[in-house]
Symmetry: D2
Subunit: 319 residues, 4 copies
């Protein structure tokens, strides 16, 4: 394989630039030509394809976001869109493609692979919701961003002896809430995977009050329900006033942590190795702290589950 390309797709995640850098430099170290595709699949169909060199990816490992930009594309889900994409790649004699994104992006990569165009996926999303890998690129940074926010909110919570309800990202997956809640010392953590009992939440608040703990932080994943509704329920159940903060888009950005830079570097290099070995239709992820290669099919049929031990640990430590 002499020419490969890389694109980022879906929501951006810290560490994507480290992965792009690794794809480019690993490819070049094998004597390949490496191309960057701008604006994801949408840009691919339009031929936004530029040659990259060692310097193109200099001084980017520490930057959030993605220098290749990202997008979502409906057209690429069509046969026509995919044919255009392959035509663009072939026009540049590109023989393999690394796709950095979430499972939606991998479906696109699977479509290309089905049509005979080699693709390898790298799980890049802050949500940590991709089956087949125990961690996704950007998750560690997002959790650290959330705990920095919680640490700040705690200053006010403590000073004013107030209860805060903090909403974090996670529509279907409670991992950000769970990790950030545990490491932020939250008093209650509400996640989509576990039915919550408002009576237990308020019981913990009231018990804490009795012991003299007048401030509390409750973390709720956006997939559970809006934080404002939790606040309303607490008022109705327990007569307690709360303040609500929705962390929002700050969770996606920021300079990646060492872990995400390392993860992006490792997965990016491995993706090139796999293309070179002639593999296709696979995601390169992490299982039990080792690089693991998983068929896209297994990603699509799999299910990411939260670590219930951790959930229980959170409860026993937030007394």
């Amino acid at each position: 394989m002499q020419k490969i390309a890389v694109l980022t797709s879906g929501g951006d995640a810290p560490g994507m630039n480290a992965a792009i850098r690794a794809v480019v430099r690993r490819g070049i170290s094998y004597g390949m030509e490496v191309y960057g595709i701008y604006h994801g699949y949408a840009g691919l169909m339009e031929g936004q394809i530029e040659p990259m060199n060692v310097g193109s990816v200099g001084d980017i490992i520490q930057r959030g976001g993605t220098i290749l930009h990202s997008s979502r594309s409906e057209k690429f889900k069509t046969e026509e869109g995919q044919q255009e994409a392959i035509a663009q790649l072939k026009a540049k004699e590109i023989e393999g493609l690394v796709v950095i994104g979430g499972d939606g992006s991998f479906r696109g990569a699977q479509n290309l692979a089905d049509k005979g165009f080699p693709t390898i996926g790298i799980p890049g999303t802050i949500d940590n919701d991709i089956p087949g890998t125990e961690v996704t690129l950007g998750f560690d940074t997002a959790v650290n961003t959330v705990i920095e926010a919680i640490d700040k909110i705690r200053d006010t919570a403590t000073s004013h002896e107030r209860i805060f309800v903090v909403e974090v990202m996670g529509r279907h997956c409670g991992d950000i809430a769970l990790w950030a809640g545990l490491s932020g010392g939250a008093e209650s953590i509400l996640i989509p995977e576990v039915d919550f009992d408002m009576k237990e939440v308020t019981y913990r608040l009231l018990e804490g009050n009795k012991r003299g703990k007048k401030h509390s932080i409750i973390i709720v994943a956006e997939g559970v329900c809006p934080a404002a509704e939790i606040a309303q329920m607490i008022k109705e159940e327990a007569g307690l006033e709360t303040r609500v903060t929705v962390l929002g888009h700050v969770q996606r950005g920021g300079s990646p942590t060492a872990f995400d830079r390392m993860l992006g570097s490792r997965l990016g290099a491995k993706a090139v190795d796999l293309l070179r070995e002639g593999q296709t239709g696979k995601m390169v992820g992490i299982q039990r702290n080792r690089i693991a290669v998983v068929d896209f099919a297994d990603v699509f049929s799999g299910k990411h589950s939260i670590d219930l031990d951790m959930y229980e640990l959170g409860k026993s430590l937030s007394i």
Copy 2:
């Protein structure tokens, strides 16, 4: 004066602990006994008054919030409340009081001064909305917190070429929005002091678009209108989709910047000096970068205005 006390009141602000430390240590350096009053005026009326020593305020200069806790009190606005407060102070033979808080807190301090109890105020609020001082304790930290958030949001804005509307604190005062917008490189800044023209905002967005600038950040102070309304107007005016983030309570917390630690230290020490000189009913602030002493009366009758040159500067640099 042999015995003085210090309390924090109203919203907490980073740097309050530096001011508390300075009051305690400056007092001790003069041979005074210094007391900490917990929970603001509410705690004062209940006699939550504890002696402080050099070690009580060790290792706090870098902490957000206030170790003395804060509160708001309706009762203290009454004659009865104020009499109780003075009785509590006299029971401990305390002869002077330093109040760290906003202008509401200073009204309480003025009431005590009117009754013959010496009080000095330190302007502690992130909002920078207190007449008579060009900067308030906590403002610098809050602005830095906001620009860190903007820097993160910019990663996503750039990667996805999106427009973000970011709501920051400031009900009547646009200083946080103005400073953070200018130093965060925001494309438009909307503040309560200046009527905004939605046509100009959308014109800037559309002009930027024409030049190839596809991402933008618009900062809006909460006192203008909710960010979601701005987003709606942009959609109606220009047909552009935006994302909304409301930064919320993270803006109050966090380890104070060097500036706020220094400011708290200087104002705290000066407040003790003033009590010692027999002064009362005054705020110690900053004017033209020097310590300034202002009568509470002038604070109440004054008006904080924004720097219009800065507002114009923002416009000329965000092209």
Copy 3:
């Protein structure tokens, strides 16, 4: 087991407070009484033992260092010292001890276990040099601290087109250098485990120069040789001027990352579970991302080795 105690020993590491919090709260959740021992083994021999409650460990999960303080003790290596320690523990009817520290601290814990006093160890050190666990408490924070410093130094390196030699901690173990070098995008990484070839280092610098890359960062673990000597060698070999920075003690401190807070929480809780099950003379660590329980004997006879794949990865990406 009704009464347990916890101490920290050796160099402090971020995350120790999370582990202390977990030991205390997990113990209390089982109905135990939990004691904190101050100043490590030295304090233990002197009876510096205080009861802890749920509130004793409130608001500490985010703090660097150790609230129990730490120390090194020669006396505790003697039979007499160990007898005194056991006498102190028995005087308080304490039945089990959690020791948070490095392998030197575990030898002390092994001595107590040998004498019939149940002990469990938690690997707490930034150096990541303890056999039997793939990561130690504090390592993730230290690496992130180092890359923040590298990111800052890179600003100057780029602006002035200079070469910087940065010395990081690691006497026998190059993991901090390796991780920080890789995730900081360093051009060369020198670690104690791999003999370095100065000709290769200078060749990389000169080749980079030819390609137009005029700034470079070289990371050297303290166990290799002082950074100043590397600088001298580069000058002699290649005639290139460099600047030297020794990061020093900042690497030990700081608010722990989410990973270290989580790791401390998990290991602390598990240590209590093990004591409760009647286990002793064991370390609780992480292997392949799962909690692993290892005999101290295996820790002492084991050898921590670096990941050579990562070392090679670093080389291929820093071209």
Copy 4:
């Protein structure tokens, strides 16, 4: 004036990019063409001059260092060098030059002005050592970087009850040491402007010890003497062991604070205004928190002095 240029010279400082951005955009807002000169005066003499547009300075306000790079040049101190510089500027029909740097850089700018080429200087250096302005671009960021390091070191100092001697930048000017020491809560601050009495330093340490304060941080500006010598003196005078950390080049880098971004923006815009008004041979700085315009001659003959009140304040608060 239709065409102007900007360069950065001497040591880099955070905020330089904000100033470059302001020069470029303010110039463009007046309809000017603006050029960036790379590598300071050295690059100027070689004609490294590129046109800048609005987008050239997009997304740089938050970056440390200088996108124009910097250098020091001996040749530019010669008549020949200056003639070459002017020839290069005239070849591009450039009529005015903004120089961002320290007082050495201003001497170069004065030379050009003396030869009839209009120049305006912006004080960019972390050292805060330029007469005629009460603050220099980069100082606020550097102080915040230092206090973050002190906060980390304090974790270890407290945990191990040790004394640390921390060396910070400042050959002739103690402002970084003074500000960082005061806002970092240092026990002693040694600066070049004030003779220090080692007996007083050790007395404070020993007195602190008696009161139970077993950890201390001593800040020393590099211009006083190497930190290691202070450590040696403390050992000889008081028999106390200390640890030494030399912060080094991290102090120059990092994303600028809000203050430095604002300062760079204001000074950059004003420098263009001055050129446009036909002014030359002047520095634009800050006096009493307002923009001030000062002749280079007054900068060269002036003397920056530290604020002795602040020095005394530090002493009274670090008891």
